[in-house]
């Protein structure tokens, strides 16, 4: 007898095993014979099911079902789920259907196995089979201590039973395990970090893949799909190590690398050129977009005379209800591992549909399906379809391309943009009431864009045409559960508008939102309590029981008008009811569990915020296999659907999906979770019903009805965001706060920027001062390595660090000091030069006199003038000894042959000879002179700041000729390279004035708690200065502090900082809306005061932050786009860039909020969206 792992053996290998009992049979469309149950000689029991556990706990429930039939403890049973090589094909795991449908053959198989075991035991023990008792895996009879284990019974056999679906199973009355709460079998492994998730799958030789998706984000139909890529610039990732292959097929782009971080870097750096993307309909106006989408009407119900009833009615009650596009929002972006080998393909995946996925992979790779093995592993919850299938296909393509196993992990952005969305839906009711308030007619129409969402790689590679398919999926729960005398239901089937697929409560949640909103409106019109009104029309006895029990449990008080619950201050309270029987699958479909909600809400009339404070939910799921599991599902459904009703809506621009991180698509957080009271009606005598979705179906209507109860206003378009509620309250005259809390007075004056752009005006003056070329200095052989002592070279290395040579003389991702960094100046783009000792392209042929002339006078060895982007005016102050050491160090570097791009400046600045005139005006070549009245430390600091450190090159404003201004303007702040280098003197507009301690902390660590973190061009400067001794940093701090106000104490600083924090807190309570949501989802995890001191790495307070309080938004925009990188900054916790995750509009909204909240005393910034677009178009300072 051998111990095997059935998860490693395919069907044939399983069937070939000795000492086994296997119940097997046909499954799927092709009737492939597959195992359902296996018992081995060791007494192990394995159940096989084609569905997968999507986080709902069905693995546990199926375990219970098998264990029940065999009278085993559940721990004896293992379930193998959704694995094409060894589980039955039971199609996709959808419609909460596992317990109701796919568990049926499993239960029969277990009963069949039990009968075989009983027969075997009866023969061995020579007793009648019907007297045998099964107890904990042992079989025997009462009064006889002989017992046989399952293993003993199976040993020596190769029993193969063809599944008989009609095998009698245990009556529910005999259940002792099914119906009792059982702990989830998968949680212990997950809580310890054992291997369960596909994300954690590692196979030998595995490489890391990433994909680059097309710009038509989340759109999967139209000629351009699979047909838009013009070119890919492989050179754009040439600097990234470890790249194995760039794979391009149609619009599919993938990169395989040896290390994950390199694959990520390549994904971010790869430049691809795409054809322009066609516009999608304006999904900001969903009702119009869906109405305009071509459709075919399908009549599902026509009872009585709807037209006649509508015509003759005493009162009409019509309503239009719009459901937004929503995301599944898996917390883990999809991931897969594929291993393509000569025999076929094995894919480890988190798919919801192992068998359909196998068919897709077969098509994609032109392989017969039987050579593909899809192994399902656990994945992040999906509540419908996410990108799990897509990424499996991506991994398969990449593995085939490199002939090795490849793991592909989608980015957050890719999952957000490309997951097939829960579709928007438009519901319209024409209704009528008679004079007594009785509902007469209900003419219901629903428009549901389809949700085929073919596996993306099939479309991108052109394997299948991008033709939008129409599915009939809008009919779930489309028949209202109420018996109105005249009813008509029409479903308009239509193609998708953007990529969509089923999501929890597919079409039923929107349909029920309309049904349950309408009946609430009708009850109000009739002057009848909404629960009583429902009961008048509800005929389903179990439905009636759920409605009554839920109302009773919640202490429902009958009422016939809104606003009976009152409120206090700005707060209004309300309570709403809704009911649904979730009818799923194609019409007429069948019911899952019944559910009803009583929602309690509080509405803030000042801010428009809605809090769902309590949900009482009644639920009838028939026999509950695992009652605690059902309760868990009800909690999950209540919380998730509350989130969907209050907060969730996918945003689009004219080409596709915009929301690509959690700030752009916020979901519910802990403090927003309502109190939940669950009432599970016991129905042990009724068949088990799916509980995975039902409890979410009444959600949005119950909340909308509660909003009506609180305010007297009907809300027919979720989500019920503060903006929407404010607008409605405003219209009703109920709003007590401002309509736009972020609206602020206009800015006081134009910024420095306007003055700087006047630069061009003075340039003409330069033309008059043309001056000849300077002579070249003869090239030399590169000085030999031994010429300078190691000590001198080391000293030069530190000086190079103090001077930050590498900061400017290194291109992003390039080799240190080989030049090529582009610097934007008001005169044009300057590219830094190669300062490695390469004789042709670098400074290898430069003698010391040539080097010194360049450093002090700005004249190249060949006599050309250098541009003052190179801060030779500062370097003139360097002492001779230091200059020599610097030369020694630079000459001792490894030479790199690299010719950076030539600088091309706008006329007239492109004329280098003009620089001679410039120099005669502004260059004062003089060494630093110590001031004897100051300390040695101050003088050392001055030498470093004014000389090698060339701080003024960035921090001093320049005059119209581009020269640093002196006097009071010296170090007084300036715009350079698209950033603002703040004032280092008392002209600083910092919230908290700087002291020497602050300068020291900032220069040493890249961070001052009272001011902020070094970002942009300053971050690499801090990095370089890490090499400097502490004394030098202190000296620089002392020198800089001498420009400030000596009377500032740390006590005053603390006072100012506290006042700023307080202002920010006051502002927060008054702000709500889009920007606030982005901040909360994307920024607050780090930038909230509550985390300070508790969390590793600094969480800068934004209230004192110099960037947030600056005159112009440029630095803040750049930091949000590209984050804060650099090694010193890293020690403080890096800030990620959001360039790929936020649109210009989102960043503008976010900044508007940040400025209003954290810098309320500063003028508001204007034209933000435009400015974000401009800065986005510029290259990031350095893309690390």
């Amino acid at each position: 007898m051998s111990i095997f792992d059935p998860a490693q053996l395919d069907r044939q290998a399983l069937y070939a095993l000795d000492d086994t009992l296997i119940v097997h049979g046909p499954s799927g469309a092709d009737g492939a014979d597959m195992p359902f149950l296996l018992i081995d000689g060791a007494g192990r029991i394995f159940g096989f099911n084609g569905h997968v556990d999507l986080g709902t706990g069905i693995r546990t429930a199926l375990t219970q079902i098998v264990a029940e039939e065999l009278d085993l403890p559940p721990s004896r049973v293992s379930m193998i789920l959704g694995d094409t090589a060894r589980t039955p094909d039971q199609s996709a795991t959808i419609a909460s259907d596992t317990i109701q449908t796919t568990a049926v053959p499993l239960r029969a198989a277990a009963a069949q196995a039990r009968a075989w075991l009983a027969a075997a035991a009866a023969e061995r023990l020579d007793v009648p089979a019907d007297q045998l008792r099964f107890d904990e895996g042992l079989v025997g009879i009462a009064g006889d201590n002989r017992r046989l284990s399952f293993g003993e019974l199976v040993e020596g056999h190769r029993a193969r039973l063809v599944l008989d679906r009609e095998t009698p199973v245990k009556p529910a009355s005999a259940y002792r395990l099914v119906g009792t709460s059982t702990r989830r079998v998968d949680i212990p492994a997950k809580a310890a970090g054992d291997l369960t998730f596909v994300h954690d799958m590692r196979v030998p030789g595995m490489l890391h893949g990433r994909v680059v998706r097309p710009p038509y984000a989340g759109v999967d139909a139209g000629d351009f799909v699979g047909n838009s890529l013009i070119a890919v610039d492989e050179g754009s990732i040439a600097h990234i190590p470890g790249i194995i292959k760039l794979v391009v097929i149609g619009d599919f782009i993938g990169i395989v690398a040896t290390r994950e971080e390199w694959a990520v870097a390549a994904m971010q750096s790869l430049r691809a050129e795409w054809k322009p993307t066609p516009s999608i309909p304006d999904l900001g106006d969903l009702a119009t977009a869906i109405s305009a989408n071509p459709s075919t009407a399908r009549r599902l119900q026509d009872k009585g005379d709807v037209e006649g009833a509508l015509d003759g009615a005493a009162s009409r009650l019509d309503g239009t209800y719009v459901w937004p596009y929503q995301m599944h929002g898996s917390i883990g972006p999809s991931c897969a591992v594929a291993d393509y080998h000569p025999e076929g393909l094995r894919v480890w995946t988190g798919t919801q549909n192992p068998h359909p996925l196998r068919a897709d992979l077969a098509r994609l790779l032109d392989l017969p399906p039987e050579r593909i093995d899809v192994v399902r592993m656990e994945a992040a919850g999906c509540y419908g379809r996410n990108c799990a299938d897509d990424v499996a296909a991506d991994a398969a393509l990449l593995s085939r391309a490199v002939g090795a196993p490849v793991r592909v992990q989608l980015s957050r952005e890719q999952e957000h943009l490309w997951e097939p969305k829960g579709t928007g839906q438009l519901m319209q009711v024409a209704g009528a009431l008679d004079a007594a308030g009785n509902a007469l007619a209900y003419d219901y129409q629903s428009r549901y864009p389809s949700n085929g969402a073919p596996t993306l790689a099939l479309l991108l590679t052109g394997k299948i045409p991008p033709i939008p398919a129409v599915f009939e999926m809008g009919d779930r729960t489309s028949i209202a559960p109420y018996d109105y005398p005249n009813m008509r239901v029409t479903i308009h089937d239509m193609p998708p508008i953007v990529r969509a697929s089923w999501i929890r409560g597919v079409s039923a949640l929107p349909n029920s939102f309309a049904h349950e909103s309408w009946i609430d409106e009708a009850a109000a019109m009739a002057g009848v309590d909404p629960v009583e009104y429902r009961l008048r029309y509800l005929r389903d006895q179990r439905g009636i029981a759920v409605v009554e029990a839920t109302a009773e449990r919640a202490g429902w008080t009958a009422h016939t008008r809104p606003q009976t619950l009152g409120g206090e201050g700005d707060l209004l309270h309300g309570r709403g009811f809704a009911y649904a029987l979730y009818v799923h699958s194609k019409f007429p479909g069948y019911g899952a569990a019944w559910a009803a909600w009583v929602a309690d809400v509080t509405v803030n009339r000042r801010t428009g915020e809605v809090a769902v404070t309590k949900v009482t939910v009644g639920h009838d799921a028939g026999l509950m296999v695992n009652p605690e599991g059902v309760r868990h599902q009800i909690h999950g459904n209540v919380i998730q659907s509350t989130s969907r009703a209050l907060k969730e809506q996918v945003t689009f621009d004219d080409v596709g999906v915009v929301a690509s991180e959690w700030g752009g698509y916020p979901i519910i957080t802990f403090p927003e979770v309502p109190e939940i009271d669950v009432l599970m009606l016991p129905r042990p005598d009724q068949p088990p019903l799916g509980a995975g979705e039902s409890a979410s179906v009444p959600s949005a209507a119950a909340i909308a009805n509660a909003l009506y109860d609180a305010t007297g206003i009907r809300f027919r378009e979720p989500p019920f965001t503060p903006e929407k509620v404010r607008a409605a309250l405003h219209q009703a005259g109920l709003l007590t706060g401002p309509l736009d809390p972020q609206a602020l007075p206009p800015p006081r004056r134009a910024g420095l920027w306007a003055r700087l752009t006047a630069l061009g005006a003075g340039a003409a003056a330069l033309l008059a001062i043309a001056s000849p070329w300077r002579p070249s200095i003869a090239p030399i052989e590169r000085p030999s390595a031994g010429l300078y002592s190691a000590q001198t070279i080391e000293r030069g290395r530190l000086l190079a660090a103090a001077g930050d040579c590498a900061v400017c003389h290194t291109a992003p991702g390039g080799i240190t000091n080989a030049g090529g960094l582009a610097m934007e100046t008001p005169f044009g783009t300057v590219y830094s030069t190669n300062i490695t000792p390469d004789p042709e392209t670098g400074i290898g042929a430069w003698s010391y006199p040539a080097f010194e002339r360049a450093m002090r006078q700005g004249i190249s060895r060949d006599g050309r003038h250098l541009y003052p982007a190179f801060p030779y005016t500062a370097f003139a102050k360097i002492s001779d000894a230091d200059m020599q050491a610097l030369y020694a160090y630079l000459m001792a570097q490894v030479p790199v042959q690299s010719q950076p791009l030539k600088t091309k400046l706008a006329f007239p600045f492109g004329m280098r000879p003009l620089m001679a005139g410039w120099n005669s005006l502004f260059l004062k070549p003089s060494a630093w002179r110590d001031d004897p009245t100051k300390s040695a430390e101050w003088n050392r600091g001055g030498y470093l700041i004014e000389g090698l450190g060339h701080c003024a090159a960035c921090h001093s404003p320049r005059n119209l000729m581009g020269a640093e201004r002196k006097g009071a303007a010296h170090l007084g702040g300036a715009y350079i390279d698209g950033w603002y280098a703040p004032s280092l003197t008392r002209t600083s507009n910092s919230v908290v004035p700087w002291r020497a301690e602050d300068f020291y902390a900032y220069l040493r660590t890249g961070h001052s708690p009272l001011h902020g973190t070094a970002a942009g061009p300053m971050a690499p400067v801090i990095d370089e200065m890490r090499q400097l001794p502490d004394a030098d940093i202190r000296a620089m701090a002392t020198y800089l502090a001498s420009f400030g106000d000596p009377s500032v104490t740390s006590a005053l600083q603390a006072e100012l900082a506290a006042a700023a924090e307080q202002r920010a807190n006051q502002q927060m309570s008054a702000l709500s809306g889009w920007g606030a949501r982005i901040f909360d989802g994307a920024c607050a995890a780090c930038h909230s005061m509550s985390g300070v001191g508790e969390n590793f790495a600094i969480r800068p307070s934004l209230a004192v932050n110099g960037t947030v309080n600056a005159e112009r938004p440029d630095n803040l925009i750049r930091v949000i786009l590209d984050g804060i990188q650099g090694e010193a900054a890293m020690a403080n916790g890096t800030m990620p860039g959001f360039r790929a995750n936020m649109s210009d509009r989102q960043i503008a909204e976010l900044i508007r909020y940040v400025r209003t909240r954290f810098a309320s005393e500063r003028p508001a910034w204007t034209n933000l969206e435009t400015r974000v677009g401009e800065l986005r178009a510029q290259a990031p300072h350095r893309a690390h």
Binding site: G55, T56, G57, R183, D186, I187, P188, A189, K190, A191, A192, G193, D194, F197, H199, R202, H208, P241, R259, E260, E261, I331, G332, P333, A380, G381, Y383, S411, R412, E628, H635, G636, V638, I639, E661, W662, I667, I668, T669, F670, V673, A806, T810, G813, G814, A1082, A1085, C1086, S1090, G1091, N1095, F1096, A1097, E1127, M1130, N1132, G1133, T1134, P1136, H1184
Partner: protein
């Protein structure tokens, strides 16, 4: 990072010393998952938003996707694996198992680590304090109720008020 610019970085993970030659800008998360083959910290957003990658650095809560290797040089990192094993779970892990504080379980790592950090500084938090501490840990399944109960149970266990489940 100027070019590859890798260097040797020493740090401790779950009590063991490691010296790895890596780019200092590399996110700690990739090193933990790929070089040290740890499954606990999960990739969720790469932007510090969701908390799935949470770890402890010198006992403080950190999001490994936005913490660079340079930041953990010479420091002590503890991951989910460092809190206990399946056979011998730590008190917070045991409480999450007992209260069934997971549906899909992808956010579970972040919830356990964040709860652990919270309970280290506040052994007796009320529900509002727990909700605030977990505010920026996203859960999509709606397991918030069970997670709250898990943290309350962990706190009680660690204070010695109830036995382990």
């Amino acid at each position: 990072m100027h070019g590859p610019r890798e260097r040797e970085i020493a740090f401790r993970v779950n009590g063991a010393d490691h010296r790895l030659t890596v780019g200092p800008a590399t996110a700690l998360l990739y090193i933990l998952r790929n070089d040290l083959k740890l499954n606990g910290p999960k990739f969720g957003c790469g932007l510090g938003e969701c908390g799935a990658c949470s770890v402890l650095v010198d006992g403080k809560l950190a999001r490994a996707c936005v913490v660079s290797m340079a930041a953990v040089e010479g420091r002590e990192v503890v991951t989910l694996e460092g809190l206990g094993t399946r056979d011998n779970p730590g008190p917070v892990q045991a409480a999450f198992i007992a209260e069934q504080g997971a549906q899909c379980g992808y956010c579970l790592n972040g919830m356990i680590i964040t709860a652990h950090a919270l309970l280290s500084r506040n052994p007796d938090p009320d529900e509002a304090e727990i909700a605030q501490a977990l505010r920026h840990n996203l859960c999509r399944c709606g397991t918030h109720v069970e997670i709250m109960r898990s943290v309350l149970r962990a706190a009680a266990t660690m204070r010695g008020e109830v036995g382990r489940a």
